[in-house]
Symmetry: C2
Subunit: 305 residues, 2 copies
Amino acid sequence: MSLLIVGSVALDSVETKAGSVTDALGGSALYFSWAASLLNPAQVVGVVGDDYPMAALDEVAARGVDISGIEQKAGESFRWAGRYSDDFTDRETLDTRLGVFAEFNPTIPASFTDAKYVFLGNIHPALQLNVLDQIENPFLVVCDTMNFWIDGERETLLELLGRIDVLMVNDSEAIQLSGESNVYRAANWILDKGPRTAVIKQGAYGAFLVDDGKVFYAPALPLEEVVDPTGAGDSFAGGFMAHVARSNDLSHETLRQAMVYGATMGAFAVERFSVERFGEISTRDVEERVQKFADLVRFEIETAG
Amino acid sequence: MSLLIVGSVALDSVETKAGSVTDALGGSALYFSWAASLLNPAQVVGVVGDDYPMAALDEVAARGVDISGIEQKAGESFRWAGRYSDDFTDRETLDTRLGVFAEFNPTIPASFTDAKYVFLGNIHPALQLNVLDQIENPFLVVCDTMNFWIDGERETLLELLGRIDVLMVNDSEAIQLSGESNVYRAANWILDKGPRTAVIKQGAYGAFLVDDGKVFYAPALPLEEVVDPTGAGDSFAGGFMAHVARSNDLSHETLRQAMVYGATMGAFAVERFSVERFGEISTRDVEERVQKFADLVRFEIETAG
């Protein structure tokens, strides 16, 4: 089923203890669509500058990602540079140049407006609302945001919450948005504002889903080596949404499965710089890793109850 | 099957945003044995001062905890005072008075030396070795430690690692001990030093087991209200060991179950100050909560593989 992502397409320069890359493919839309493509084709709406290495997008296009909604404009592409601490618990932003992304006001191509599964990547909430107005009849709208908008565009964000199905944010963002000091209370606060479901990501620990009055926790897969955590959350979102889209089912059980596919894609993402890992793996690798995830949390207890 | 804990018996004064208590029952041995008693009787070896409210131990004794190994000595009881931040991510120690605990050199009563399941609470590793010398033929020895001993008694601690079955520590302690910057590498480092199994606790996020070449992750149960996190780790240990002792089985599958009982006891512990919660609940409450845990991580995926 059709899956649309609207978000950033960037060039990232990243330093970690494993090495460094310069102007590597990045941005929420690219991580999301690469991860999604292993399960379900995705359509991307984004913007790049005239300095963008368009040929580098061929590989993701070959995987079934429709990149015709990536507009190339005169000017510089969005660039981000950062450095991670050796244990990956901190990261320092060295440089952010928004370039043409600063004026990004997405127009959804006519061929994408019938998308049934929609992910609103982290952009101004007014633009996220504007995207929603252009989609005809979506089955599921999932939305990301960040501290900058929570702080500066709170009212618009609250309006947006009334129109989306799932808010997917980091625990610190949920805490900031809600004013609660507990992540589960923060999730319930979010549900009171409109969404049927909250997904709260907890970095290297995992992520949880609150849906249908139940909580599902997906721990992060154990990794002995992390190369670059950039894009893990967007890859999680791509795996989550692509599984829902290919299942074309919004049941609680499907959302639990989607969390597992999300966690699996997040684990793949961090094993290489940029989106490199997704170019190396197949759908079969994903399904095999999902089985490893199953073993991570499996146990049998018979109780008298 | 017989279960022995050697550790601290203390009086804790704790402040959290939920309130405060003064000279409340605390210490690793008390949290451990209270939690354990809901599944399997426990024997406690510890020391208190002549100021200790011995009558307060009657309730835990009534639950089947053998407190005859708690020696009362002339002097002050071990007291700890601390204050937690509102989100429970930080705690400040306001006062520590070791009292008679400073000279604690455990003598295991003759009636306890045949204990089959032994938990060595956090005391000087030389004393932990000394306890081990007094136990005749234990089936499983699980050991805790802390940053102070990792820093100051490293060689003794390494000797101890060669004689125990399970090291159960916090992630920061595993990182400090191993010198690794990744918790899964730290766990494998620990296994290289002797133990067959490592249990790494990650506070409010959960805990993982590395055993038999496999990793099992037990997320913390979702809690919307935390009253006092003190003793959560010791309660986890009590639930873990008591399940293994009552099963009298050291298989990997039993250890997975034990992690779930540990996580369940940790969740109960933090819902009240001190050991209060364990006085309110029954074994049936524990089993019901284990079912909630099962629902927290349950999902069904059929894959082509």
